[in-house]
Symmetry: C2
Subunit: 305 residues, 2 copies
């Protein structure tokens, strides 16, 4: 609209076009549907509920964090995390790290006497990428990306892929959850997890197993006091933020479950949602960007009462 | 190194190359200098002190936030903010908004009885972009960008430019400070400012006057409780976080000033600092990104005791 095509090819150079028009003193942008308008006009079929078998609830002093896991991208890790959760591994552990513009991490604060794992595996082979053919839900965004040949969304998760290598992977955007690991690629297990709380550190893509995304409760994590130690780790035990419990939604009585729906990213409605951000209309916006970074593409979530 | 050239042209497609190699099961990456190594090896001439005439101290209950202003990009707004500061406009005002993955904003919480301005101007013509020729310090990064034809740094600030329109502008990266405005382009004054606390909302570029960057104290802003109202505004006065004072560093006795230095972004050392992030070496990193997003390029700051 307003001279900016929704056509894919055009969108790839619309940024430069917008810049040129801004310089030339273009007229005010006409209004167009906002993200809120697109959500309001959406149909029930544009949304999907969370699958309780792939949803974790982490109970913090400030409230519940809801995390959707992505078994397609990290089947072994999601399976191991499910085992850890069901064997109450995380209950009583803590948030142990908060580094500004980077990540908040949780796990076992006691390095000397670590909590034993029961039937979960202590380490797993890294699941940094998967064969593209396993990622059947991928819908590409037209916007070019510096970190990957193709980016878009896979069933509600920001993702990337490379046709040459035939690999696909989840990307480090705000709110994405990954598996802490040591130096070895195969040294993580899911017993320590982190969430991105700053500008997406996309250079971590393909270097870490990404297992999911925070669906609700990001503010409970992003506002946790930053740690004074190296890399934002807390240097005093009293700084740790205790985790009351982590449970699979499937193990929580129906009445106590959080009822969230995620907009289906393979729909025409979702394409409109992204376009509403890529090329905002007036009157507040004076220059439409003509482009959207993968990590700025909203993935709408709503609570169903 | 490790097959990834530091050469500019190569860097533009190294992301795809890295992806291809990852898929092909490339060997472990050899170690290379990290950002910390580059900083350690830097010379005194690689750093510049903050100019007290362009540095603001905002005193919050949790401590001091240090903001460097960019008069080259927003001369009238920086001048107006300086006047507001010197006439104690901000003293006793508050942080009034905190929206997750977006901005924290401060100004006058009392809409009904707004604090009068003294000699500062109530509105200014928007300074969204400047002529490229005014931005003499610009050093381009080789990395392509979706939002602008060229990106890089201008004397310590992330910036962009468009040779076709001949315009340059500061970019909305984490920690950048902008001027709140109403619908009209010329409706801001600097009496309400915000800082980016999430993934850089680059679609705001060229739509807002950007006046500077937080040099120290980001955690004091980024962890402020998110507001429950629309757009993260606080809906109860008791939620406001009080600002004790905002002062120009030049008006603070030498002994009470914060002594920070910023790495000069026009140096070869800075180019190495960015490269250290663009292509991380092993052993922890398994795949070098071969690319860096403008907002992930670090701008090192150090405190001088």
């Amino acid at each position: 609209m307003q001279g900016f095509s929704r056509n894919h090819k055009m969108a790839m150079c619309a940024g430069a076009l917008a810049a040129a028009m801004a310089g030339a003193g273009a007229a005010e942008l006409a209004p167009k549907p906002t993200l809120a308008d697109v959500i309001k006009a959406s149909k029930p079929s544009d949304w999907r509920p969370l699958d309780p078998a792939n949803t974790m609830y982490m109970e913090l002093p400030a409230g519940r964090v809801v995390i959707e896991m992505a078994p397609v991208f990290a089947p072994a890790h999601v399976d191991n995390i499910r085992t850890l959760v069901r064997e109450h591994y995380f209950d009583g552990l803590a948030v142990i790290r908060s580094q500004d513009n980077w990540v908040v991490q949780w796990g076992d604060p006691d390095e000397k006497n670590p909590r034993p794992m029961k039937s979960a595996k202590p380490t797993l082979k890294g699941e940094f990428t998967i064969p593209m053919k396993n990622d059947t839900a991928f819908v590409r965004m037209p916007d070019r990306d510096g970190y990957a040949p193709q980016v878009g969304h896979s069933n509600g998760f920001p993702s990337a892929r490379d046709p040459k290598s035939g690999r696909a992977w989840l990307t480090h955007c705000y709110g994405m959850v990954g598996v802490g690991r040591d130096t070895g690629a195969d040294s993580g297990s899911g017993s320590s997890l982190y969430v991105v709380i700053g500008h997406g550190p996309r250079h971590l893509d393909r270097n870490i197993t990404v297992v999911g995304r925070v669906i609700s409760g990001m503010p409970l994590l992003s506002t946790i006091a930053r740690g004074p130690g190296p890399m934002g780790f807390y240097d005093k035990p009293e700084m740790n933020v205790p985790i009351a419990s982590v449970k699979m939604a499937a193990d929580v009585p129906e009445a106590e479950r959080s009822k969230f729906e995620v907009m289906r990213t393979e729909t025409a409605t979702y394409e409109k949602a992204v376009e509403a951000q890529r090329n905002r209309g007036g009157p507040w916006t004076k220059v439409a960007a003509g482009y959207i970074d993968l990590c700025n593409a909203p993935i709408p979530v709503r609570e169903v009462k």
